[in-house]
Symmetry: D2
Subunit: 375 residues, 4 copies
Amino acid sequence: MAGNTFGTLFTVTTFGESHGPAVGCVVDGCPAGLALSSGDISRELRRRRPGVQAGRSLGASTARGEADEPEILSGIFEGKTLGTPIAIIIRNTSQRSQDYDALKDIYRPGHADWTWEAKYGLRDHRGGGRSSARETAGRVAAGAAAKVFLAGYGIEIRAWTAAIAGIEAPGPDEPEFDFEEIERNPLRVPGKESAERILKRIEELRSEGDSAGGILNCRVTGLPPGLGEPVFGKLDARIAEAMLSLGAAKGVEFGAGFGAALGLGSQMNDRPLPDSAGLKGLPPDVPGLSWQTNNAGGMLGGISTGQALEFRVAFKPVPSISKQQQTVDRSGTIRELVIQGRHDVCIIPRAVPVAEAMTALVLADLILLHRSSRA
Amino acid sequence: MAGNTFGTLFTVTTFGESHGPAVGCVVDGCPAGLALSSGDISRELRRRRPGVQAGRSLGASTARGEADEPEILSGIFEGKTLGTPIAIIIRNTSQRSQDYDALKDIYRPGHADWTWEAKYGLRDHRGGGRSSARETAGRVAAGAAAKVFLAGYGIEIRAWTAAIAGIEAPGPDEPEFDFEEIERNPLRVPGKESAERILKRIEELRSEGDSAGGILNCRVTGLPPGLGEPVFGKLDARIAEAMLSLGAAKGVEFGAGFGAALGLGSQMNDRPLPDSAGLKGLPPDVPGLSWQTNNAGGMLGGISTGQALEFRVAFKPVPSISKQQQTVDRSGTIRELVIQGRHDVCIIPRAVPVAEAMTALVLADLILLHRSSRA
Amino acid sequence: MAGNTFGTLFTVTTFGESHGPAVGCVVDGCPAGLALSSGDISRELRRRRPGVQAGRSLGASTARGEADEPEILSGIFEGKTLGTPIAIIIRNTSQRSQDYDALKDIYRPGHADWTWEAKYGLRDHRGGGRSSARETAGRVAAGAAAKVFLAGYGIEIRAWTAAIAGIEAPGPDEPEFDFEEIERNPLRVPGKESAERILKRIEELRSEGDSAGGILNCRVTGLPPGLGEPVFGKLDARIAEAMLSLGAAKGVEFGAGFGAALGLGSQMNDRPLPDSAGLKGLPPDVPGLSWQTNNAGGMLGGISTGQALEFRVAFKPVPSISKQQQTVDRSGTIRELVIQGRHDVCIIPRAVPVAEAMTALVLADLILLHRSSRA
Amino acid sequence: MAGNTFGTLFTVTTFGESHGPAVGCVVDGCPAGLALSSGDISRELRRRRPGVQAGRSLGASTARGEADEPEILSGIFEGKTLGTPIAIIIRNTSQRSQDYDALKDIYRPGHADWTWEAKYGLRDHRGGGRSSARETAGRVAAGAAAKVFLAGYGIEIRAWTAAIAGIEAPGPDEPEFDFEEIERNPLRVPGKESAERILKRIEELRSEGDSAGGILNCRVTGLPPGLGEPVFGKLDARIAEAMLSLGAAKGVEFGAGFGAALGLGSQMNDRPLPDSAGLKGLPPDVPGLSWQTNNAGGMLGGISTGQALEFRVAFKPVPSISKQQQTVDRSGTIRELVIQGRHDVCIIPRAVPVAEAMTALVLADLILLHRSSRA
């Protein structure tokens, strides 16, 4: 498959350049009979716009005042999915293409300007074209459909900002950690005080014309055991692929992750326990299990255990900084560059709904694939 | 696609259980006219067996004295690839299935025993069945073909043991680092002294009945720019998927990786430089570039820059330990378990050729996909 | 893959229901740098509307006065393809959904009403929903892009009406056959006199409230040898799949086709001749060939020979007839049915551009796949 | 995907050249827990060898005395499928490669010799290499697994010889038609007297050094409604693709087929009837239907109706004839050619089990895909 489709059965194809007429997606393979509304999609798209939600500028919003209203073109009839492709478009309403004229022949450091030209011989330079984070609006719209599908299984996906610029948010086992707080602050930090400390640091960096990296955490609960297709479509392999398809992602780890590399087998093996409560979807004669710990992060051999799926994603700092930089232009000449305009200092808060969407797409696909496991 | 095929154009399908008649692979899409011999494949398969190669036991070898001689069944004629599927089988010659009778109804901690049953309703319990590392022999055989294809482009893939049990090997920029040393010691450590320190620790752990995790590094040189299919088939996304398809992998990072999450944009942006030497395969009118640093790890926007591709993979400790553990059996009863037999203390040395093979398969596929980029 | 995407490298995903907001397509994998305009797409879409083009009613037009103006949402910048997905939508402007209220609970004979419900549990009953021929507008738009790509190789695809209601149009070897005439008459018949005879029969059938089947012929010239992926992606297998994906198609044959079943080997083997003029794209040391006859229809072993690709497609009569029929409704009750409104008597004339589009999509895909054949 | 894999969920990859070490297949996606034995596969492979089965030479057997004993390498444990890839190999035991030395540089008329060279630049000339019918042994082995899976649904696939050299066998509605007779005569003709007439004609053609084409019919009963993935993975589209992937196939038609092109809508629309017996797998509130006739051949809109799936495939005469022919060699010189050895006069009898196998693979895949239709 060409590179704009993700998934095998529950698939999404995204399309669109940052400053073209629209971005969007086609979701194919979403089962029929699911109650899905435009509101389900709008709600997720709004979460991509933290500044607006917060009611004040937080330095983590984009300059673009996009309404991001999705238009559903197909696949839903009388409030239910038809089993046919769901096409959704989101118009690019407020782009100012001329802002980018100065960047037409310049390769911005840390951006994909040159690599796209090296691959395709040409590019839409306006706002990064298709390599813009704008493309992820299509993913979020598709993920909204996947989330509704997963909700029917009792599966819930929650991502949050775990660290920005080295300042860590509380972890799920710490007292300050508060799931409700994630959606209350535009930084998606699960703790009010941490959010404020991080915000302060972001404002400093903004005034210095610099940007920050960070860590995103994701936890999925309610997963049935058995999801993941060995040996190449493992649950963690699919999630890793999905996370590294995010623009500035530089790494991913599951459960104990890189920490597991330091541990011993006797420490890292999670101890199984009988779980007479059972788990949904188990074959006959296979006993229910739970585990004393979750170093594995929710899978063994790439197949879900029914524990929480836990992973972390590292993001590099936003490459668009207003500090002066040196780069090269299309003629091969060294150029001084100061990027104008207002940019996110850190991508993590806006990556939260995108990471959730991609996770939802992986899981929806794996659920459908799993339906073929047994005769 | 079902879960045992990897790739879009240059594909591999692996098959086989640890204690069935054979493991193997079918490589499809390998271009015709490539000089490929049985020796190319045997050589890589031998690298999966470090203990034997070293001429003495190093605690990192398996108990199984497998010859691992590949038989090529198709796809090669008079020493050249035909463009048809290359089927390769490796017989499982020395398995002793009865050794596993005691484990038939027990779910080993840290293994995929229970998850396979949860998914499929049954499993081949002998030696882990298909979830065994034995399956990777098929990957290594396929990767050997991909490596030969890549060699024609001047692409070289080198993986090594970067750390075991917290003891780090020298990095590529340190004086002790020695590429030649990697193949000289069975631990795949790029430094003689480090190899000895790590070996000592491995022997300690073995005597304690425990196991260790570690880090594998990989560097690919000679890559042309332009490889990677945005937005879902990015170079890093594909590598991440490939690495997390390895049995005990728990994380992957590219370039500065998780460290990038701590840096600032002004530090992490790699500065482009004009490179009049040019790079292979650039479209007309696109200037050659090089970069002052390589925090990005060889790609921007998921497309190769032509710099070295650099990534690291974290592996958890081998779950088969001889210390006593508590677990659960098929009847749902808690059981004491002491795993018999001789097992690797750390998977990294044997994962080195497998990681290289998977990397080769990703890159061969991306090279073929890239042939369709321009009209 | 879910069932709305066609192709491996040059792919199309279509979406849309007949009476939803829009139909359309996403073309992915179209190589970058191709000059493609909205006009290229409009032109093909207009060919789907023969009645309008002819300037008078011909009994082969639909009741729907659709403008069918495509809107290109992505993938093209400054007149050239970017190598990114090309999303095209065509609004459903003049649908009158209430016309279909009477059919809401009735299964029309010869239509897919019941089978869609049997599969999905529900359907959009308005105008056939997604099973409507309206869906093919997205295919034609995508095919227009593929045609432009193929034109760069000198490949030309021409389909025409070979027979309707048993009245045959002249064949390519007959004197009356006139390629120019195909686009001059709305029936797509390659001969003026035949067109008039067929039109007369169509008008008779219309007055009787009945409909007719027919045969579509397609000839592709300028194909390089070597297209087709053995053993499952053969040129003829892919074309057959494409043709049977058309709504009312009931059969396809290549070259001598069903006639070959009656012949002897000594008659059917096409005799090769040396062709010193050579053919484009041959490997070194492989001589050019031509053939004295073309019973094979342009391929041997599923790989193009460089001769004309020739095939024929049989279509059943349009199932929407105004004669009274008996059928069953959703409650399982027998019902009398008279289908109201104005419908095509024969689908062939409007199938001509769709068959060409699907052929173009197959060939564009096979050209890209063929780029990976040799090392 | 490269061209040697067929299917999306229930997939087969075949490998092997006619005179290489082995041919075979990997079946991936076969659900776990299915009782499958080596005997199930041997039985189908034996049906590919009608001469042997008949106990005397019938002119429709090959010269090769192959035992065709399958070896199952993986995927089955204690008599049941594991859900893992099923690899099966069939050794090429009795090939005499030197017989083909004379053909090394000659392009046989009607064969794929030249097109393979035109595509790949080289070929294995021995016995046609991979373009040999020998490749279909892998398909038949895979199809045997699919048939066992389908048997669990009550689905039965029966193909037979409908005509050879213009002599027609009785049709299913004629008194002479006898399903039991198909397996009793090596020509796979469903009528004893017809079989003898056809055999006589075959012997005449053999003595003349010529060959014959023919028609194969296939009927599938027991299909649940709802199979087929609109709009590109329709049941008929998938079957057509499968049938045209057979070596000498030149056409396929469904139900009334090309005859439908001559009929009127009022004749061709099959009349639905209430069927209170219901059908397996229908969603709630969708009534059961049957049909008075089956011009549609078992599907509407590409989705199965639950009626018998009926199709016909046209095959050209075997191109290997012993009459003298003129052709061209690798140097581009015209050559006289007399093909030595003993070859089938007509491919149909041996195509019967292959067509059944491919049909089984399509249906098994569509059943698994259908499991994702509804939420």
